[in-house]
């Protein structure tokens, strides 16, 4: 009788232990696809295998972070911040703060403190039409610091809400601004203005020859003029970034597919030269040139179909290797063995950055 009782208890204990162990074991066998990204600062201080020059500003979950000397710092709370861009004198940034129904552009100092609001896009208090609110996206400040460029959802007609490129004096109300582009109806519109010495580059969305909506880089130097297309509809390009020397442009092209290539092309101030694909094996977004011309940072998934991480491609990975000019009379020497290809560096592993927000980078 006692033996039977002991056996029963023993079996119950074995079942409990084995069952719990099995449950826990199966739990550890789950994939990590739904793992929530960490804050970048969780890994700080961490010995970084790689440290980029200057200070890079990046967005995760509505918060602005800086990355400097291999360490992340959270500059703002998670409060809808996105699309940072450096002020030309390097003393601060402009960035968008996005609310449920509108967004505004602010000036922030390098520590993330708001110093001025540049737009006022909330609907008047008495207006109950939600369409009376406005979006401002992709702010940029001209080299002389006097003009704010941005995408703004005016004019709009009922359901036809498209972004257009506007320029306005810094700190002035939108009524003093100037509409620069004529966005195509029902297309998403014109976004990502980049003021350059000769005019302004932007991304225009419109219906291509096959009736698909595509992105194209355009250049214009006159307000409300058509300007000229820099890329073809079939290339389906967006997110232009001008190199520090002003002679190259990096961009993201998708060729109308669910892929994206990081392309670079020479730029003479009015036209683009031949394209060169420098990242073609993964989904890639938001290229940003290092201010010291040491390479290009961009966002791309760290694992297949995963959240976007920060990557860096050193200049040697895309710039042509200098070819030494042979001096007259020099004896022929064996050509050096080809150098190993330079691979991109994955800077973060589990952070999930906002791939719709451009990166800002200061020296």
């Amino acid at each position: 009788m006692i033996a039977r009782y002991v056996l029963g208890v023993s079996l119950a204990v074995v079942m409990l232990v084995f069952g719990t162990t099995t449950y826990l074991f199966l739990g550890t066998r789950t994939s990590h696809v739904a793992e929530i990204p960490q804050k970048p600062t969780v890994a700080t201080p961490r010995a970084q295998a790689f440290s980029m020059s200057g200070t890079l500003y990046i967005i995760q979950n509505g918060a602005l972070y800086s990355l400097s000397a291999g360490r992340f710092h959270q500059l703002t709370p998670e409060a809808g911040w996105t699309m940072p861009s450096m002020l030309p004198n390097g003393t601060g940034l402009v960035a968008v703060r996005r609310f449920a129904a509108y967004s505004d552009v602010y000036i922030l100092n390098r520590f993330g403190q708001t110093t001025k609001r540049l737009t006022s896009n909330v609907a008047p208090a008495r207006n109950t039409d939600i369409g009376a609110n406005h979006w401002s996206f992709y702010p940029r400040v001209s080299a002389d610091g006097k003009t704010l460029w941005m995408s703004y959802d005016q004019p709009k007609y009922g359901y036809d809400v498209v972004m257009s490129v506007w320029a306005l004096p810094m700190g002035a109300p939108i009524r003093q601004g100037k509409l620069w582009t004529n966005a195509a109806d029902y297309s998403g519109g014109d976004v990502q203005p980049i003021p350059v010495r000769t005019g302004m580059i932007y991304t225009k969305y419109s219906y291509g020859p096959d009736d698909k909506l595509v992105g194209q880089l355009w250049f214009t130097n006159r307000a409300y003029s058509a300007g000229r297309a820099l890329t073809t509809p079939g290339e389906d390009c967006r997110s232009p970034a001008v190199s520090p020397s002003g002679t190259q442009i990096a961009m993201i092209c998708t060729y109308e597919k669910q892929i994206s290539y990081l392309m670079i092309a020479s730029w003479n101030g009015t036209t683009l030269g031949a394209r060169k694909g420098i990242i073609t094996n993964q989904l890639v977004a938001q290229p940003a040139w290092a201010p010291d011309d040491s390479g290009i940072a961009y966002l791309a998934p760290g694992a297949p179909a995963g959240p976007f991480q920060l990557w860096f491609l050193p200049k040697a990975g895309y710039a042509p290797a200098p070819t030494p000019s042979p001096s007259p009379g020099a004896s022929p020497v064996a050509s050096p063995s080809p150098a190993a290809p330079v691979k991109p560096v994955q800077v973060t592993t589990n952070n999930g950055f906002d791939a719709t927000s451009p990166l800002a980078w200061s020296s």
Binding site: M15, F18, G19, V33, Y186, V214, G215, I252, G306
Partner: protein
Amino acid sequence: MAGGLAYFLPAAQLAIESTGQVISQATPSPTDLLLSPQPQSPSAIPVAGSFTVLLLGSDDDSKFRADHVLTQSMILIRVVPSTKQVTMLSIPRDLYVHLSTGGFAKIDGAYSYGGPGAAMATVSQDFGVHINDYIWVGLLGLIKVIDAIGGIDVVTSHPVIDDYYPADVFSRYPYSYERVAVLAGPQHLDGIHAMQYVRSRHGDLQSDFGRSQRQQQVLLAIRQKSKLLSPEDLPAIASAIGGELKTSIGISEVAALLPLAASFDNPDQIRQIVLLPPYTHGGGPGGSVTANWDLILPLVHQYFP
């Protein structure tokens, strides 16, 4: 053993609640059969051979009574395991058709009048396609599925901006609106933003057709992400989805399909069809879309033989 059973309990519960549902198909009248270009027998085709699934997506917010919802999205998916080819055909929700339950109306009402059986029978009789199974997912279900698999990577083709997007999923006022701006380019979308991307149609010149193209993009992204899942992920996903998914596919068939889904690697073997003009044109009764059956049926018979 006990631990394993407990672990997979949510998945088993979902399987019992949502899979293997019996479909009651409205029996077409002899007239219906004459109208059907190629009526086929309803016998099931084994997984080893090709099979066709009707994917249904619905508004299931508080504006509608449960099981009397419209289907905002209807996608026929044909899978040919031997050649690893997939064809997706989006059916415009406003297509004016002969319903299997009788009369003519927009095709999105078929589910509302007779449930999944009527939706399958209507598509089957009008398009001349044999449909093996259906999968129905509600708005909240799509959000939950995408969140449960950790989001999806999508190249959104253009900024999707909508000042009057229905705020009916989480709002207490299902007839209110919200402003939506899904920005363009490669990005990682969570459930809510993926839903906004596929559901908004006010800012698209192609309206429902443009939305259909976006729905197919997101479907492919979900499939891509699903390939990374392991069987041990199923309980968490099952408990996340809750009652937001219904299907006639039995649990044994689901098990057989999982490895099959993972083996479809080549995106070039996935054909996407949207019935743009001249296959359809507007101006039908009550704002519906009229079908050009002379063009549609040969196309359907080519890809859904």
